[in-house]
């Protein structure tokens, strides 16, 4: 890190420092922020694959266990990207330590970039950890690595941004938990992590298409199997549009100082 410190130009040093602080923050509690979601995903894999292995065939030639892994990776990646930015912001607001950042010359764009980059890194770290552990148990192909990377990047950025919005809006942990339990969790579980939407009745298939999580997971899965419920290009456009919309909202909130600078 010291070598990188020296390479960063002074005008980006503030952004880089806030990013680094956010990385250190979650790494100091890595059992909770990285190891725990990896273990949870592996338990899902163990139980669901064991119970459903011989009952569910989603894609031709793809065992259910293998089908499940990209969904689980993406689910954890998204949840942890959200958790990183939202919990850091809520905690620092409640403890009052947010003032240390607000007193500095960091612009609202720099603030956004630093929190977003840290959320993306945590999402990638958790996702990669699950992948590395899962391939010990399952033979998992990678057909289009670039699509995997693109959807991991867009997904973690989208949820990291959503986490920034939730973190700014929430005044207490209870409100942030409501985002997690009543928005993130249902949208994730109803997005096709454990199934293909083609297995749903037509009405629920139509409903699923309003769920941005479906596009993230479907596009991500395409990168592994070269098969998906819809075209990865359509997923790419939908996810990018959601990301841009949320980024606009987050930047607008930060620029106005909403709930941060009265």
């Amino acid at each position: 890190m010291n070598i990188i410190d020296d390479l960063i130009s002074p005008q980006w040093r503030g952004t880089y420092t806030l990013f680094k602080k956010e990385l250190f923050r979650f790494w100091r509690v890595a059992f909770q922020t990285v190891a725990s979601p990896v273990l949870t995903s592996l338990l899902y894999l163990l139980i669901f694959s064991h119970v459903l292995e011989n009952h569910v065939q989603v894609y031709e030639g793809v065992p259910y266990k293998a089908f499940l892994i990209p969904g689980l990776i993406m689910m954890s990646l998204l949840q942890n990207a959200f958790a990183n930015s939202s919990s850091s912001l809520v905690q620092s607001k409640i403890m009052g330590s947010i003032v240390f950042v607000l007193l500095t010359p960091l612009s609202y764009v720099q603030f956004f970039i630093a929190f977003l980059a840290a959320a993306i890194i945590r999402g990638f770290l958790v996702g990669l950890s699950i992948y590395l552990v899962a391939i010990w148990f399952v033979d998992l192909s990678i057909v289009h690595p670039l699509w995997i990377f693109i959807f991991a990047l867009l997904g973690s950025a989208l949820l990291g941004t959503f986490g920034i919005i939730a973190g700014i809006w929430s005044d207490k942990f209870d409100q942030m938990a409501a985002f997690q339990n009543f928005v993130i969790m249902p949208l994730t579980f109803l997005s096709g992590v454990f199934y293909s939407i083609h297995s749903l009745p037509p009405f629920w298939q139509a409903v699923s298409k309003f769920n941005p999580f479906f596009y993230m997971i479907d596009g991500f899965r395409y990168g592994f199997f070269g098969q998906s419920d819809i075209s990865p290009w359509l997923s790419f456009v939908v996810v990018l549009a959601f990301l841009l919309g949320l980024a606009w909202l987050a930047l607008k909130m930060l620029k106005s100082g909403y709930k941060l600078r009265a």
Partner: protein, 317 residues
């Protein structure tokens, strides 16, 4: 937009702040020159912290302009914040890091890199934090957290330093240490703005004082001038178990445990007070003539009993 010596350290022009129906600041005008040791006094709710938060960019004024070293806090906020170090009133801290890490992060937010580490170590040493440099912020005592907060405000070498109630709830030893340290900063050329409701603190440290009441500045002058504006003295009488004669009650400033302080406007009132005591057969056990202090000035202007005489001796090192 220059940082030369003629530029005021802080210029506040016609600043209003409203929180809904509450008119917290009602047109504040204030100029603080570079190198001043300035005191901002007032009871709780007077608007001191609101004004400080506007200086720091934590609040936006409803109307008016504020600049620090010539830089507008809204339009040139980055240059303004580079010039300002703020010590918040509350003991806030980041629980994930130790003292040195936290100070290096803080310096980094201001664009300072490893070349600043020597200064960070100097601040740590000057504030007596060397032994605690690798201790997590969570594990520090209240007094040590206060020192760390001051250190955080100094890591980017700001020319203007605001201390919002720095000695609230600290013990005598730490208060003396902080006073000496803040005086040294001022001697080194830093402009100091101190908010306090301990009048002794302002009297001991500040060259110039603004007194605030309900969002307005009710007095603004040098400490010496403010004291001279109230030529009266106080007569402190120790009467033991006896009560003060009723004829002296109009002069009574305060009285408890048999010690009564009478406010005098003229010295010949001493004779009058003593004769009234003789008439009532009250024996004077002790008698002192005391100069008026900032508290008297303050009470005459603010007229509230919300000022504390000295910091309570609580907290630990």
């Amino acid at each position: 937009m220059t940082d030369n010596k003629s530029t005021p350290a802080v210029k506040i022009e016609k600043v209003h702040k409203r929180f809904g129906e509450l008119h917290a600041l009602k047109g504040i005008d204030l100029t603080i020159q570079q190198g001043e040791f300035f005191g901002l006094l007032g009871p709780n709710g007077a608007g001191k912290s609101t004004l400080i938060n506007i200086l720091a960019g934590l609040l936006k004024p409803t109307y008016g302009q504020v600049s620090i070293m010539g830089h507008d806090v809204i339009n040139a906020y980055q240059a303004a914040r580079m010039s300002l170090g703020v010590v918040p009133q509350e003991l806030v801290f980041d629980p994930f890091f130790n003292v040195r890490e936290m100070l290096r992060f803080q310096a980094g937010y201001f664009g300072r890199g490893r070349e600043n580490d020597a200064w960070v170590d100097e601040v740590i040493e000057n504030l007596g934090l060397t032994d605690k440099a690798h201790t997590n912020m969570r594990k520090l005592s209240g007094g040590m957290k206060r020192r760390a907060l001051i250190a955080q405000a100094l890591v980017h070498k700001p020319p203007v330093i605001v201390l919002d109630e720095p000695t609230a709830g600290v013990d005598v030893e730490l208060r003396q240490m902080l006073w000496a340290f803040i005086k040294k900063l001022n001697n080194d050329g830093h402009t100091i703005i101190l908010t306090t409701h301990y009048l002794e603190e302002a009297e001991a440290l500040c060259e110039r004082v603004a007194m605030m009441k309900q969002g307005e500045i009710v007095a603004l002058d040098t400490t010496a001038n403010l004291l001279s504006k109230l030529p009266g003295k106080n007569l402190r009488l120790t009467l033991g178990q006896a009560n003060l004669p009723s004829t002296l009650l109009p002069m009574l400033k305060n009285g408890e445990n048999g010690i009564f302080t009478l406010a005098l406007t003229e010295l010949n009132q001493i004779e009058y007070a003593l004769s009234e005591l003789r008439k009532a057969n009250v024996t004077v056990q002790d008698m002192q003539l005391i100069e008026a202090d900032l508290e008297d000035v303050f009470m005459s202007l603010v007229g509230e009993n919300s000022i504390q005489h000295s910091a309570p001796e609580v907290g630990e090192l």
